[in-house]
Assembly symmetry: C2
Homo-oligomer: 278 residues x 2
């Protein structure tokens, strides 16, 4: 199965895709999230794996926007522990490191470690991309922050592992597909459903929308508001809740929400990853 992800080979998204699907997949690196969506939508690639939320940094807004712009379905989720590694050319040692390069978010998540090293920082577009560039450059005074997988892919050396300041660093990835999961695959495991909707801008509008779930004891796991492009300060709401549209109570909640919302799309029902998210 071909699985698209954003970033260079060795990106955290690739590591999450392999953790979810196993080693047998064919990972397809894409330059942008847009390419991941377009590749899956066009049918050339079976699935995409996109990060949607990090426990420290919050939501990846771009992907919420792309879920709305495209008509793909969420068919799975994977909660993946982010363990940053300090990666250098073979033979380099920690004492050689004067510059640390990575994506600004990874640099921020290892701020204390890098400060203790006394190294300068150099922003890059991508964690794994920083490793690839470093390999090409031949620089011995520079190390990159990226995944263990990135070190493997580029034949580089791990000088230190688990260098993030906060260990509670998890990213939730979504699996996207052209077709939704068949409804009968639902009942076996606990499911989540993701929806996106907009509301008239009136007092109590969000309260009414949430009543749809509260009145049926459906548990929300996440709510996110996003500006609607072209309508400054109007918002769409992205909402995850425990349930599957194949179950009558969930289907009725969706129908009820349709009465209230000015726009509503069901993004998918999929097995809940209980690995970390209790």
């Amino acid at each position: 199965m071909r699985i698209a992800f954003q970033g260079e080979r060795g990106a955290y998204s690739e590591a999450a895709a392999i953790a979810h699907f196993g080693e047998g997949i064919e990972p397809v690196p894409c330059a942008t999230f847009d390419e991941v969506f377009a590749g899956v939508e066009g049918g050339a690639i079976e699935r995409g794996v996109i990060p949607i939320e990090n426990s420290l940094a919050g939501s990846i807004h771009r992907n919420y926007d792309l879920l709305l712009r495209h008509t793909l379905h969420i068919v799975g989720e994977k909660i993946f522990r982010v363990r940053h590694c300090l990666i250098a050319r073979p033979g380099a040692s920690i004492g050689d490191v004067r510059i640390v390069t990575s994506h600004p978010q990874a640099l921020a998540q290892c701020e204390h470690y890098v400060a203790r090293l006394g190294a300068a920082i150099e922003p890059a577009y991508d964690t794994a991309g920083a490793v690839k560039l470093l390999k090409g450059s031949g620089r011995r005074d520079t190390a990159a922050i990226a995944s263990r997988r990135a070190a493997d892919v580029y034949g580089m050396e791990i000088l230190a592992e688990g260098i993030e300041d906060d260990e509670a660093n998890f990213t939730r990835f979504l699996v996207i597909s052209r077709e939704p999961l068949p409804a009968d695959s639902a009942s076996a495991a606990p499911s989540k459903t993701s929806v996106v909707f907009s509301l008239r801008n009136s007092p109590g509008a969000l309260f009414k929308a949430l009543s749809v779930f509260a009145l049926r004891d459906l548990d929300l796991t996440k709510i996110e508001s996003r500006p609607i492009p072209g309508k400054t300060w109007d918002y769409s709401f992205y909402l995850d809740f425990v349930g599957n549209t194949a179950e009558p109570v969930t289907a009725r909640a969706i129908e009820h929400l349709r009465e209230i919302a000015t726009m509503l799309r069901v993004l998918g029902s999929y097995p809940r990853d209980l690995g970390i998210d209790p």
Copy 2:
């Protein structure tokens, strides 16, 4: 009055501070948002101006987290139109530009313009910082994307203005202070109040919390959920609504919310910026 902001001189935050307070202020550039908060909290600086939300990119999560970690008060808001300029050394022309440098978000917001130029992109930590570096480097083949103010501060030339792909590009800034606004300053103008709270993780918890506002016809203008550090996938909620704690109905809503929330802080009541946000 001394006003702290994050970034180099000429940053959009500085431009917003001057738009809000007038030219008479003394802007104090800070390397990080943490320094802005620490400077105001320590008493050395009277006010801080921090971006909290952009109409295209969404919320600036770091500042939500810092509002919770510190005990400052929100005393104002400013909604500021972001108009990106292409800035180069005096005498340069658009035809010379081979490389465009700026903060990754500004580069993303001018993606189509830069693609039409056929220029390569080079990420930097800061929009105004990119102008400062460019001035120091003497490079003639490079232009930076930043505010008109940044060009003025560093004596550089504006090659093009309003180069953002989407004109509906507004940033909402908050003004933070050690002391809240006096309660009697409230009644003259329409106010907003910002609160942050957490809830027991139980079905219907958010619904009950929002009932506090819906039952009193108090209009929500923004809701944002943030992971709670150390409690993976537990969330704090940040909420803005129309009202002032000096008004009885607002004060009662807050007391009601206190019955439901496991944690609640009022971040401030302040005059609403009606410039753009209707």
